[in-house]
Structure formats: C-alpha cells, structure tokens
Symmetry: C2
Subunit: 194 residues, 2 copies
C-alpha cells in the first residue's frame, strides 16, 4: 500500500513490490491474481483505514462539527516524511486511472463511502443542534470533501508550513461559520423539491 500510495500505480513495478513484500513473483501471483488486483486490495485497505480513522475522530468528539474542523486544521501538519504521500491515495489513483473502466468506478465507490461518513457526521451535528435543520447535509458533505481534496493537493506543494497552516485555518473557519450563518439558504431552495 505504501508503495502504490507514494509512487502511484504505473510507477510501481513488480520489482518494487517483490522487494517490499519480500516475495518472489510466483508467490505474489498466488496470493493476488494480478498487479491490478493487488492494487485494488491496497485501495481497500487504504479506504478502510481512512474511513475508520475519520469515524473514530468524529465519535470521539462531543461535537461532530468541531471534529471536522479539527480534521481540516490537522491537514496543515501533513509532512512529506510521516506519510508515504501527503495526497489522498484515492484521489491520486482517481486521476491516474483511465477515464472509464472498472478501476475508476471501484475508486469512486470508495470516495462515495468517505463522503457518506462526512455526511453522517453532519447529520449528527444537525441532530445535536449544531447545524440548522434547513441545511442539506449531503450537499454540505460534498463541499467538505472538496475542501479536503483541495487541501491535500496543496500539501503536495510543500511550501512553507505557515501558509499551509493559514490555508487550513481558513477552510476550517468556513465550516465553523456554517452554524450561525444561513449559508446555503439561497441555493438550497434549488434542490429543495427533489
């Protein structure tokens, strides 16, 4: 997973995998069926850990909204050293994989699941009165996910930590501003009927 995450699917060769897994080609193909199947398995593992980490973070906090905020702020501490890549493996793979194909839908399915987790957190926040009942949580979830995507891409530019910190603060503040402001009131009505 580390290899695929850091180097991407194409740039990771079986030679690399043999060394990392300490397995000869035959064993690899006995355990997994192909390089692509192994890649899928790593995507599963990555997505599983990501969603688990996210859910744990949310459930550990009394305020789901604050948890999401802290998560965004925490993205400022993405150093190229600690993780294989500061970018999201799912996003990296999404952009690398062919436009239409099994792998693409496989990845989008995982992204949908992550979005659902964010949506659940927002619904919980709504239930606790942190958010007005009028907000479209599914729509807001996608927006929060979009923030995360953007931030993790920016983290790849490894500029000075201060700017990254400021950026995360700004986007986290967006979420914090949601409770008091009727932020989506105007456009919300567009989808109110559906």
């Amino acid at each position: 997973m580390t290899l695929f995450w850091a180097k991407g699917y194409h740039a990771t060769s079986l030679k690399d995998l043999e060394a990392a897994l300490n397995m000869k080609p035959g064993s690899i193909y006995a355990a997994f069926h192909s390089k692509e199947a192994l890649f899928r398995a790593t995507l599963d593992r990555y997505a599983g850990r990501m969603t688990a980490e996210m859910q744990a973070m949310i459930q550990s906090s009394p305020s789901p909204l604050a948890a999401l905020q802290r998560h965004l702020e925490g993205l400022s501490e993405l150093t190229p050293c600690s993780r294989p890549s500061t970018a999201c493996m799912l996003v990296k793979s999404l952009l690398e994989v062919p436009q239409d194909g099994d792998l693409r839908s496989f990845i989008t399915a995982h992204l949908d699941r992550v979005e659902q987790v964010i949506g659940a957190a927002l619904r919980a926040a709504q239930a606790k009165g942190e958010l007005p009942p009028s907000v479209d949580t599914a729509r807001l979830a996608r927006r929060v996910q979009t923030y995360i995507f953007g931030l993790k891409v920016q983290a790849q530019r490894e500029t000075d930590p201060q700017r990254m910190h400021d950026l995360c603060q700004d986007l986290a503040a967006e979420i914090g501003r949601l409770p008091q402001s009727s932020s989506t009131e105007g456009s919300q009505s567009e989808t109110a009927g559906t």
Copy 2:
C-alpha cells in the same frame, strides 16, 4: 498535450505519441530530446493557455471578483467529452510525478504562476473597492486555487450534473460572501506582522 492530459505521463507511450503526432520515433527525438522533455513542453503549453484564459476572463470583466465567481461556477460544465480530462493537467501531473525531482519543481513553479494570476485579480478587486484593504490577497488567492483544485477533482467523479452545479454554486458563493463579511479578520492577524 491532449494525450498526456488525458492519460497521464506514464500511461502515455511513445507508440501513442507517434500516432498522435504522426511522427516516427526518430523525428520525435530530433524535435524534443526525450519523452520527459516533450512532456515538459506540453506542460508549458497547458499552463500558458490556462493562465492566458484566466487573465482574459478577468480582464474582460469590470469586476474581477465576479469573474472569479463565474469561473468557479463554470467548472460545473466540465464534461468528460469536451476536454481531454476534467481534471487540471498540472494537478494530475503533480500527483503522478516523483516527490522530489526536477519535474516536481517544474510543475509547482507553474502552479505558483497560476496562483499569482489569481492573486493579481484579487488585488485588482481590492483596488476597485470590491474587497476591504485588510484582506491578505496572497492568502486568499491560495484559498481560491484550493477551491479550483477540489472542484476539478470532484468533476472527475462525473456524478449527476445537478450536484456538481450545486457544489460550484456553493464555493462561488463563498467568494461572493467575502466583500461584506470580514471573513479572515481573526486569523489574518496571525500573519499581519510578517
């Protein structure tokens, strides 16, 4: 450029390029020195067009801020058919290329230039009184760019157009909300001294 944009660097083979350019390998290596050099040239072309398009869009409008808003809203019409890829070629390449290397810094340099263009638009908006003098335009520029990154990644998931439209509206509305709200007032002071 179309090929690299759509398929990425690694997935584009010289066979593909020979067919697209209608050139034999020898001619390609006479014109460009290597596959990587050709890739760099396409990145130059892409970034050049992107910045030009962005500047034209800004200068054609009396309100730079409204132009940026319209740009974000326009991202909802990113169809997988019209362009080689709905994703930004620079972002795609940034995520594909090795962590440290010439290519990486080459790409980030281009991203910096795009960010500068956005920053210039914001400064122009500030000069016209569309933005309070207190806002850190450089910092805001990065935030706008982060929105664009996130949106173009989301566009890769080709879900129903309505949701994409809503998402773009939401992020464009963020920009629209900047003039009246002292949005960055609290965190702004953190970098005010530098």
